[in-house]
């Protein structure tokens, strides 16, 4: 694939940045499944990202588990954690769910610091960057890039499959009209919790990968702004859109850097302006807007010209 070929032309630093993009994309897809497709707003996915990252870090640091095993484990742990959190969250809607998840995100750094023995407290845990396995002639950056890309493709394919199928329709139905879905026989409670769990699992895997690629975890990396950035990512990328996750990931990785290049004095002001302008121009996110535009273009092509002129208001 093109991305793989490009791997050989990009510098290690760029590969590192794009690996971050892949990782964010996985996290964003997780959040999007919950918020975009299922309508449950979460401002707390940074918490699951942190849990995934720390699961990996602790397993490597305390028990010398090879990092390969830590990634699915992190996913599993978050699946359970997300599901458990999803249960009481079933009753919460909109604002209240947002607040609950917000509280979760805020509590995480303090809790991480408290369990110092496991988490290394505010000092964090330092890991080593893994070398490419099986003697492949790749730099660590290239290997991690490949690994993240591979996991991304697999998880995206899984998600696409899920969302296109029966489960996907149930999930979306719950978002659009919970009562109707319930009366049609969808087990709303179960689906909502499972979706929470699945969404958390995705974000947890992303967190695990980030721990491996950055080779360091500390409570400061998982503050509330992380969760808010994820929300920004899915809204800008496009809610309820799988490709939106990648677009959003590109945004949250690169736009802050561009903002810094534009203005050294007040870079975040520029970032804020970017956010607002994007939302004005594309209220449904990049993917959403593209979809609308594509739809309109296709419709115009399908209609014969005279009829189109007449039917247009």
């Amino acid at each position: 694939m093109v991305a793989v070929v490009l791997m050989f032309t990009l510098t290690n630093f760029r590969l590192f940045q794009f690996t971050q993009v892949f990782i964010y994309a996985i996290a964003l897809l997780g959040l999007n499944i919950l918020t975009g497709f299922n309508g449950q707003i979460s401002l707390g996915h940074g918490a699951f990202y942190a849990v995934g990252a720390y699961t990996t870090a602790i397993m490597i640091d305390q028990w010398s588990v090879p990092y390969g095993w830590t990634i699915p484990t992190a996913g599993l742990v978050c699946l359970v954690a997300g599901f458990l959190f999803g249960i009481p969250a079933i009753r919460l809607e909109g604002l209240y769910l947002a607040l609950a998840t917000f509280a979760l995100a805020l509590a995480v750094p303090q809790i991480l610091k408290y369990f110092e023995h496991w988490t290394g407290g505010s000092q964090g845990i330092v890991l080593s960057k893994p070398q490419a396995p099986w003697g492949l002639a790749l730099t660590p950056d290239q290997w991690l890039y490949l690994l993240s890309l591979a996991i991304l493709v697999v998880l995206f394919a899984l998600a696409a499959n899920l969302l296109r199928g029966r489960a996907g329709r149930a999930i979306v139905a719950i978002r659009d009209n919970t009562l109707a879905a319930q009366s049609m026989g969808v087990n709303v409670a179960l689906y909502k919790s499972l979706t929470f769990g699945l969404s958390a699992a995705y974000t947890g895997v992303a967190g695990a990968l980030s721990a491996v690629t950055i080779a360091f975890v500390a409570p400061d990396s998982f503050d509330v702004f992380r969760s808010i950035t994820f929300l920004i990512g899915i809204v800008i990328g496009g809610l309820a859109s799988i490709s939106g996750a990648i677009l959003g990931a590109l945004f949250i990785q690169f736009v802050p850097n561009w903002a810094q290049d534009i203005s050294k004095a007040a870079p975040w002001a520029i970032y804020g302006v970017f956010l607002i302008v994007f939302m004005y121009a594309m209220p449904r996110g990049i993917a959403g807007t593209l979809r609308l535009a594509a739809g309109r273009w296709l419709r115009r092509r399908a209609e014969p010209p005279a009829a189109a002129a007449g039917s247009r208001r």
Binding site: M1, V2, A3, L6, T9, L10, T11, N12, F13, R14, F16, Q17, F18, Q20, V21, Q110, K113, G121, S122, Q123, G124, V126, S128, F156, A160, S210, I214, A215, F216, A218, P219, D220, S221, D223, F225, I242, S243, I246, L247, L250, Q260, P267, W268, L290
Partner: protein, 403 residues
């Protein structure tokens, strides 16, 4: 449609960003006319108050450049914002090392942020000089030969207080207030280590706080009620003011040890009340720029003149601007010492061979010294007591290097 859109997006992104790998020069970051110095600082986010250090450094380098540079080369100072977030620090530092190809990474700020790049800098063999944190781990030339701290570390300061307490206040009952992160914990460890076995008996209560807490009044109340007659105050300026004021307001008058980070007369003692601050004890290594005793001191006047010309936006009562000035001077000294060999290997070698460097804003008697086994440039501090008007130095110059 999905798969295509997905791939198309990736392709576009890569197309935009693909850059050929730059060849690594023999002396990276150095040309006949310039030396590239890299830095990350928190210009935004929770620690943004420290961002002024990064700016002060830039202002000092500008002065040096205006006066001809270092051995004919100007300093090209490249600094990025990391928002005090370790992953961002990693990214920005990799950019500095791999893309911008700096000769040296200088004064990166923060303990977790520096921890994140500690291994990387040593793997890449790039000088990681004079990091802006007081943690102890930067003085480890055996395992991390490319990383060096600068300021007296927090544990040393804690131990200085402990020594004083053991000698002069034998029936001490100590209450500790510290910030719940490695800065606070390091200071705490220093004191406890210095007290040794006596710690268990002497420490009656410990309280912590988070940077996000609005007030620490509750903690002060608890400390007073624990019967402590010594208050070990490990707080940043914002909370130090509250602590001093609240203790005074509720009538608690312990022997009050204030950590060096918050010893500024202008930003802490004045807002807290000069009267309420009487009797405070701290350890100093810099000349306190808001202290009237240095009003006519040559070093101070030079600093003020520099601030007015090169950093007019900077506050004249913010000790951080004196700190930035001092570290920048230290780096310039090292780079000058390199002569014409500005390879990364020589830069770190020269940094580890500083002999008795005294700088105008350091307290008289304090000298910077480093060697291949001593990566702690400043190890001397002096106790001072506040008399309502200024910090009066007393006792002898404590030298951790001699220990």
């Amino acid at each position: 449609m999905l798969r295509r859109g997905f791939l198309l997006t990736l392709l576009l992104a890569f197309g935009l960003a693909a850059t050929p790998a730059p060849a690594v020069a023999q002396t990276p970051g150095v040309t006949k006319t310039e030396i590239k110095v890299g830095n990350t600082n928190p210009y935004s986010g929770p620690a943004s108050a420290y961002g002024t250090i990064g700016k002060a450094i830039g202002a000092y380098f500008k002065k040096v450049n205006d006066e001809g540079g270092i051995n004919g080369r100007k300093i090209n100072y490249v600094t990025y914002d990391d928002g005090y977030s370790p992953p961002k620090t990693v990214e920005m530092v990799r950019k500095l090392v791999e893309q911008d190809q700096v000769a040296v990474l200088f004064q990166t700020l923060g303990t977790p942020t520096n921890s994140a790049i500690h291994k990387y800098m040593n793997q890449q063999k790039v000088p990681h000089l004079f990091v802006a944190t007081g943690a102890t781990k930067w003085n480890d030339p055996k395992n991390f030969p490319w990383t060096m701290g600068w300021q007296p570390n927090y544990q040393t300061e804690g131990r200085i207080y402990a020594t004083y307490i053991l000698k002069n206040l034998p029936d001490a009952k100590i209450g500790i207030l510290y910030q719940n992160d490695d800065y606070g914990k390091d200071y705490r460890k220093g004191l406890l280590d210095g007290l040794g076995d006596a710690a268990k008996k002497m420490v009656v209560l410990e309280q912590t706080y988070e940077v996000t807490d609005p007030t620490i009044d509750s903690q002060i109340v608890n400390l007073k009620n624990s019967g402590a007659n010594i208050f070990y105050n490990v707080t940043i300026p914002k909370f130090a003011v509250q602590a001093i004021k609240k203790a005074h307001d509720i009538g608690w008058k312990p022997t009050h040890f204030l950590n060096n980070v918050s010893s500024s007369l202008g930003t802490v003692l004045k807002p807290a009340g000069l009267d309420a601050s009487k009797g405070l004890i701290t350890a100093l290594y810099q000349k306190e720029i808001t202290d009237p005793q240095w009003k006519n001191d040559k070093g101070y006047l030079e600093w003020v003149a520099w601030m007015k010309k090169y950093y007019p936006d900077g506050a004249l009562d913010d000790q951080a601007n004196a700190y930035g000035y001092l570290v920048a001077q230290t780096l310039v000294h090292v780079l000058k010492q390199c002569g014409n060999d500005l390879s990364r290997a020589n830069i770190i070698k020269q940094a580890a061979s500083i002999k008795d460097l005294s700088l105008p804003l350091l307290l008289p008697g304090i000298k910077i010294n480093t060697s291949a086994t001593d990566y702690a440039p400043i190890e001397q501090e002096q106790l001072a007591k506040f008399d309502g008007e200024r910090w009066v130095l007393f006792g002898e110059l404590y030298d951790a290097g001699k220990k």
